[in-house]
């Protein structure tokens, strides 16, 4: 998406942003209601997406799509609790998916697993991303780790359920790599459309909506977390609740441990590690 379009969208009022999001959701649902699913992480954005989808289903008298929750083996208990309580409060149908072959071993974070001990599917998936080490380290947020713990079970779910439209709560202003995203984006493995209805929401919009509509949110945000990832690599950004932080001038992704490899390389060159 180009900068001018993004700026136009960001300038909309919150009500206008919601109604645009609902249009995209309705379009997807009207297409093939039984083949739509929604990615729910228990985070603030996907919970807002979930609420908007409930509103659309209610208004148009459509069935709620199934929600997909990925258990990557390193989940905050607070997120687990939030997902369970919201599932029952909102009467949701939630599919909890995980990489069984990996997680039944109950690996510790950082634990080394022989690649040959993994299932042939997992071995093929590692080859597919160019991973040729003989040992796989269980770290949900490394490149290979995230591929096996999150991407692989999701792709399996999408193909097994013949999903045609998958709703995801990403936003342009989350991080730079998201800026090019479109509201509807075609994927070919398996063939389906990724629908990003709240792409144009700012972090502030999310909190305004959550507070304005009294939506539930995970307790971690009150403790200062801004963006939720794997438990072992995610930190709070300040001692005040997320919505009281300087959302406009600090990055919500700062608390996410994504440059571990770069850090390790630099420490090594000074003889540390």
């Amino acid at each position: 998406m180009d900068a001018a379009t993004r700026t136009q969208h960001w300038a909309l009022s919150l009500a206008e942003k919601c109604s645009l999001a609902k249009q995209y959701i309705l379009e997807a649902l009207a297409n093939a209601p039984s083949r739509v699913a929604l990615g729910w992480t228990g985070g603030k954005d996907s919970t807002v997406l979930l609420w908007l989808t409930r509103e659309v289903c209610h208004e148009a008298n459509l069935p709620m799509p199934q929600c997909v929750y990925i258990d990557d083996g390193d989940v905050f208990p607070e997120i687990d609790f939030f997902v369970r309580s919201t599932t029952s409060a909102w009467g949701l149908d939630v599919a909890i998916i995980r990489n069984e072959d990996l997680l039944f071993r109950q690996p510790r974070i950082g634990e080394a697993i022989d690649v040959t001990a993994l299932s042939s599917t997992n071995q093929l998936q590692l080859q597919a991303i160019g991973y040729h080490d003989s040992v796989f380290y269980f770290e949900p947020e490394s490149f290979a780790g995230s591929h096996l713990t999150k991407t692989v079970p999701l792709l399996q779910y999408l193909s097994q359920h013949f999903i045609s439209h998958f709703l995801v709560g990403i936003r342009w202003d989350e991080q730079e790599q998201r800026l090019g995203e479109e509201f509807n984006s075609l994927r070919d493995n398996p063939p389906h459309t990724r629908v990003h209805p709240i792409l144009h929401f700012r972090e502030r919009d999310i909190w305004d909506l959550i507070h304005g509509e009294r939506l539930p949110f995970c307790e971690l945000y009150r403790q200062g977390y801004r963006s939720l990832g794997a438990r072992s690599t995610t930190r709070p950004l300040a001692a005040v609740p997320a919505w009281e932080q300087d959302l406009e001038h600090t990055s919500e992704r700062q608390g996410r441990g994504q440059d571990k490899e770069a850090v390790m390389e630099q420490l090594r060159s000074l003889g540390y590690m």
């Binding site: 510790r108 974070i109 950082g110 080394a112 600090t250 990055s251 700062q254 630099q266 420490l267």
Partner: protein, 430 residues
Amino acid sequence: MKQKALVIGLDGVPYSMLSALMQQGAMPYLHNLAKHGAFGAMEVPLPPISSVSWTSFATGKSPCHHGIYGFTDISSTHSLVFPTFLDVRCRTLFDALGTMGKRSVVINLPATYPVRDFPGVLISGFVAPDLARAVHPPAMLPTLQRLGYRVDVDLTRIRSDPELLYEELYDILTTRIHTAELLMNNEPWDLFCLVITGTDRLHHYDFEAWTNSQSRNRSKFISYYNAIDSNIQRICDSFITQQGSDPYLLLFLSDHGFTQLDAEVYCNALLQQHGYLTFLHDSPKMISQLAPATTKAFALDPGRIYVNRSDRFQHGCVSPQDVPALCDRLAQLFLDLQCEGKQVFQAVKRREELYTGPCAQFAPDLVLLPHRGFDPKGALSDVVFKKGHLTGMHTHDDAFWLCAGSAEFDPPQTILDCSGILTSFFMQER
């Protein structure tokens, strides 16, 4: 009247070396300041490593209060974690000044990554892999990018071609000083803090140029310090002129000493040879691959020994009542260690001796204090003693401080005392 303080950190510069450089005439400006002000040696908390020391400077507290014990740490499931600025458990000097309405500009202070809400300008120092997350306020990022600002010398490049070391050091120094001058003149500030880390990199990679007077890089080494001295002079002269008759404080300090490295000591190899440490696999790459059921103790950089206690680690196998006796045996093992007939460690400190604050529970069980020349390592290795490409190592003593300007204070004994000098300077009624 408006009082202002300027702090310049010289990472890894020993008091003994700086005095000698002054005597030799290589650092005339600092020499002159030292003659008119006060100059001395101080200690830093154990372990002597930049992230711990600079956090101690920034908070005025020891590691058992701020919670940073190294560039790496170990989680309750034995995975290796990298403590960040967000993990610092107590308030920094800059936050405290912020509540007094004072604004700080901080450039290249190690262990302040990623940036967070900050009363002033903060440009994080090492380790800071992504500049976008190393700058507060974020609006300052384009300016730094335009200047070609880099957090550190390209260590990977230097490792592949050591000839590039001095070129990289000058390049980084020039941009850093340029950035400092720009912020000094265009930002409002009360405390300005600039850390030069090239000195530490130089010592790690070419300390021999200092210890060996025959080294072919000797004159390059001296010239680099000469360049630092003249750049410091330019910054200080401009600051003192701007201050006019208003009170000012100049504080220079280092975060640890440095000495020649004779041998790297791989503590985990020693523990493995004596049956205290076992791994899940034959050729382990990281300490997180230890076998929790059979490991009694393991080491992290630099010289931090952890007992695999069941009350600390989820899969720990040493029960709390067995810890004291095990620590005795481990201490003896390290004290008995010799290299070519020389004792390697002068002392082994217990957690209880060093750390008593609220974060003591995260501290190592033992900290090794080596004799000069022996650098304890946490990395994995097949042999206990090795000599790699690095030529210098840190010491916990022989760090320096130098103070000039209109402040009255007791000479700091440790780096913890430095933030007190700054806060009392700002609190003085004038």
